[in-house]
Symmetry: C2
Subunit: 477 residues, 2 copies
C-alpha cells in the first residue's frame, strides 16, 4: 500500500479511541488496557465497548462501535483472534482510521491464523483503515497520552526519540527505562506481526516526522527486503537510526517464525545492509538506551579522543583498554594542560596523564573542580569520561561529597562547552542499602539535568560513545 | 623468595594488627582505615599507633610499635611513602609477620619511588616479614573480620571465593557487590605494586587453600612470566580460576606503568597463556560476579543445552541469539515434554518450543508451576533460563505474583535437580519507583536462597553461563 504520512500520523495522534473487549475483570488484557489508558489520562474521548457490562472502572460502557456518539479515530481490539473479523467489518463501515489488534493467534500460530490475518488485512484495505498488529502492545504517545498495554506509569513528557518494535515487552521496557534515564519519547509503536503497518511504514514515518530526532527499531525480520532498505536509507539520511536485529541463529530464527511470523534472513546480509544504509547496529535494550543517551547529551560531532579520569588507577586502565577496543583514542595530555594539572594536583597523590588518576576522591573540592576544568579544556580532549567510583568515594566523602563532585563535573562541561560523561555504577544491591540506591538516583538526575550523560559502567559508557558517533558520513547530524 | 603457604596464611588470618599512621582526623586514610576495622569488628587485638594523639575514635593510641604490649602479626602502614623505611626497620627488629603498605609514591611514581620500594623489600627480607603493597587497600577476610580500606560494610559471612587484585577500588567493589549477590568471600587481597607478595604467591596460596573453591584475579601485568604461568596452571588444576587482565592497548599500558609499575605484556601472549593454563578469561567486575554466581549456584557440570523461557516472544528470541553466539545450544523440546507442555498451556496463548513463550505472565500459578517443571525436566534441557519480565509482569500480576512465580521456579529446580537461572532486570531508575527496586531485591534474595542464580539481564546470564562452563578439561571440578 502507498505510504501516507498523514494517515499514520492521525493514528499515532488519535483524538478518540474505542476499546473493544474492555473488561471489568482484573487479570484480563481488556481490563489492564482500560486501566492503563485511564491511569495515563488519554487526552481524547475514550469509549469502552462491552455488550455484557454497563460500567468498567467507573466509566460507562457501550454495547458496540455503532452505538458510540462519534466514530473513533482508533479502535483497540482486545478480543480473541477469531472474533476480530466481525468488528473489523464494523470499523470499515463506520470509517475509523486505525485499528490496533492486540491478540496473538494469527500468522505466527499456523495456517488457520494465517488465513485469519489475511482476511483482516483485506477488510482493512476494503474499509480504508490501517492495522497495527496483530500480536502487539499498541502505541505509546505522551502527546495525546496514549499508552502501551500495560504501560501504566510511562512518562507524560513528550520527547524526540521514537521506537518501533515487533516486541511488546521490549517496547514497554524501553519506554519505562527511558523515562528516568533522560530519554523522553516522541512515540513508541509495538506493531507485532506488522500485517499492515510494518517496519517499512513506521521507519519512513518516523524518518520524515520533523519532531523525531532519533529512531530506534527492534526487528525480528522483514518480508519486504528492498522496500525496507529504501526506508532505512531514507531515515538514516535524516537522523540517527539504531537497529537491533535478532534472529541470527537457528533457534532464534525458529523463535521469530513462531513469535511474529517474520522472515529473519541471514545474519551476513543484514549486517552489510545495515552498515551500507548508515544505521547504527545495536544489541539489547540497554545498548539502545545508552546510545540514545549519548546522542542526546553528548551529540556525535566530537572527535574520537577521550580523556578518562577517576579516583583510582584500575578504573582508568580498564577504561583505556575498552576505549581502544571500541576504536576511540586515549591520547596523552598536551604539555600545557599536563603542567597545570600537575600544579593543581601536586599534593593529591594523583597520576597526571590520560587516564588521569586522582588517587583518591578525597581531594578538596576546589582542587577537584579546577582539575576537571583543566582536564576537559585540554586541547586533545574531545570528551571527558569521569568515573565517580561510588564504591569507595561515598565512604570517604559522604553523600554531599558525591553530589558536589557531580556539580563540579557539570560546571566543567558548561565552562568548556565540551561533552562530559559520568560513570555512576551501583554498589548497592541489598534491601538494606536502599539509601545508597537513592543517592545514586539523585546524583544521576542532577547530572542529566545539567547535560552530563550518565552510564552505569565504564564498559557501557565507552561502547555507547563509540556507537553514537556512528558511521563517519552521518556525523554532521 | 620461596613460597611458604603458612606464612601467607598467618598474615591473611592475622590475630593482631597495628595501624601505624592511625588518625583522628576525618578525611585522612589513617582515620578511614581505623573506622573501617572498628566497624567491621576485627576479631583480634587492634593497636593504633600515633605519637601525636592519645585517643582515636574512643581507643587509646600507642606512640610506636615498640610500645605495644605484644608484637602484632600484621602492621598496616598508612603514612607517606618516604617515612615507611624507619617503621619497616622496627617491624623487622620486632619480628612481625606481615606489613601492608597502603601509600602510593613508590615504583609507579618514578626513580626515587623505585629506590624506596627496593629498600623496603630489602628490609622485609632482612627482617623475615612479607609485604603486601605498596599502593593498595590491604586484606578483607570475614573470618578474622579484617577489612579493606575503606570497606566499612562488607559481609561478615565467611565464604569460598577469593580475589587477588592490583586495584584497590575494584577489590572493594567486588567484595561489596558479592555481599548481596550470593557470593561470600574467603578473602580478598588488594596487593597494589606487589613488590613482595605478588600475583604468583597469591595465586599459589589461594590455589592450595582448601577453603577456597573459586579464585578470581585482576591483573595489570606481571614481572615474572614463567613463575606466574606455573602458579596459574597449578591453581587451574585445583579449581576454577577467573583472570581479568587489563593493559592491552597503548594508553592502558601507559596507565599500568604509572598505576602499579607492572609490565603489561602483549595481549596475544596473555590470551594464549591464559587459555593454555585453563583459566577463564573475564573482563570487568560485573563479569567476575556473574561467573562466580553461575559457578556457585549452577556448577559447571551441565551440558550446553539451555531452555530459554519467559512471558513474551522477544526475550526468548534475543536469548536464543545470544546463546548461539556464546556457544550454547537451544535445541527443540523433546516430543513428550512438548506434548505435556502443550496440554498445560493450551489456553494460555503460549508458543510451546525452545524458546518457550508463555505469552503472558498472567497464566494461573498452578499452570505456571507445572509448565516450569515440565520445561526443566525435558530430557534435552541441561539448564533452564527464565526471564521474569518484570517490566510488564509486575503491572499484571503484582508483587505477590512475581514472588510466587519465583518460588515456582525454585520448586522446579528442587524437583528436577537441574540448574535454573532467572533473569531479573530492573525496570526502576527513578527516586520515585524505589518500591519496585525493593521488590526486585527481595525476589533476588529469595531466589538465591533457594539455589536459583539471578542475573540482571539475558545478555549477562548467557555470557556467564558460557564462561562458567570453562575449558572442557576442567568441567569436572
Amino acid at each position: 500500500m502507498n505510504f501516507d504520512f498523514d494517515q499514520i500520523d492521525a493514528i499515532v495522534n488519535a483524538r478518540s479511541i474505542a476499546i473493544v473487549g474492555a473488561s471489568g475483570k482484573p487479570g484480563k488484557f481488556g481490563h489492564a488496557l482500560v486501566a492503563a489508558q485511564l491511569a495515563m489520562g488519554f487526552e481524547g474521548a475514550l469509549y469502552l465497548i462491552n455488550p455484557g457490562e454497563t460500567e468498567i472502572l467507573g466509566r460507562r460502557t457501550y454495547p458496540s462501535l455503532e452505538s458510540l456518539p462519534e466514530v473513533p479515530d482508533l479502535v483497540y481490539l482486545t478480543i480473541p483472534a477469531p472474533l476480530s473479523l466481525d468488528v473489523l467489518r464494523d470499523c470499515g463501515r463506520l470509517g475509523v482510521r486505525g485499528v490496533v489488534i492486540i491478540a496473538a493467534g494469527f500468522r505466527e500460530a499456523g495456517p488457520e491464523g494465517e488465513a485469519l490475518e489475511r482476511q483482516a488485512l483485506e477488510l482493512a484495505r476494503q474499509g480504508g483503515f490501517r492495522i497495527i498488529g496483530p500480536n502487539c502492545f499498541g502505541i505509546y504517545n505522551p502527546r495525546n497520552r496514549l499508552t502501551l498495554l500495560p504501560g501504566y506509569d510511562l512518562s507524560r513528557t513528550p520527547g524526540d526519540a521514537a521506537f518501533l518494535s515487533q516486541s511488546g515487552g521490549f517496547s514497554l521496557h524501553l519506554a519505562r527505562m527511558g523515562k528516568s534515564l533522560g530519554i523522553p519519547f516522541r512515540a513508541v509503536v509495538s506493531y507485532g506481526n506488522g500485517t499492515d503497518l510494518d517496519e517499512c511504514d513506521l521507519l519512513r514515518y518516523f524518518g520524515r516526522d520533523p519532531g523525531t530526532r532519533y529512531v530506534a527499531a527492534y526487528l525480528e525480520g522483514t518480508q519486504k527486503g528492498r522496500q525496507f532498505l529504501d526506508a532505512l536509507r531514507e531515515a538514516c539520511a535524516q537522523k540517527p537510526v539504531l537497529v537491533w536485529k535478532v534472529g541470527k541463529g537457528e533457534a532464534s530464527r525458529r523463535a521469530v517464525s513462531s513469535h511474529t511470523g517474520s522472515l529473519a534472513g541471514s545474519a551476513e546480509v543484514w549486517r552489510s545492509a545495515l552498515t551500507q544504509a548508515g544505521a547504527i547496529s545495536v544489541s539489547g535494550i540497554d545498548e539502545i538506551l545508552d546510545v540514545l543517551l549519548a546522542l542526546r547529551h553528548l551529540g556525535r560531532n566530537w572527535g574520537q579522543r577521550i580523556l578518562i579520569a577517576g579516583g583510582g588507577g584500575g578504573l582508568g586502565t580498564y577504561g583505556a583498554d575498552l576505549a581502544e577496543v571500541e576504536g576511540l583514542s586515549v591520547p596523552p595530555l598536551e604539555a600545557g594542560a599536563r603542567a597545570r594539572l600537575g600544579e593543581i594536583l601536586v599534593r593529591a597523590g594523583a597520576v597526571v596523564g590520560n587516564p588521569l588518576d586522582l588517587g583518591t576522591p578525597m581531594i578538596p573540592l576546589p582542587l577537584f573542580a579546577a582539575a576537571m576544568r583543566e582536564a576537559t579544556a585540554n586541547p586533545s580532549t574531545d570528551l571527558l569520561v569521569f568515573d565517580l567510583a561510588v564504591n569507595f568515594a561515598r565512604d570517604l566523602v559522604g553523600d554531599s561529597g558525591i553530589l558536589e563532585a557531580a556539580d563540579a563535573l557539570a560546571r566543567a562541561r558548561r565552562e568548556t562547552g565540551k561533552p562530559v560523561a559520568a560513570v555512576l555504577y551501583s554498589r548497592a544491591c541489598d534491601p538494606e542499602d536502599m539509601n545508597v540506591e537513592d543517592l545514586l538516583r539523585r546524583v544521576r538526575a542532577r547530572l542529566l539535568e545539567q547535560g552530563v550523560a550518565v552510564f552505569p559502567s565504564m564498559a557501557r559508557a565507552v561502547r555507547a560513545l563509540s556507537l553514537a558517533r556512528g558511521p563517519a558520513c552521518h556525523r554532521r547530524n
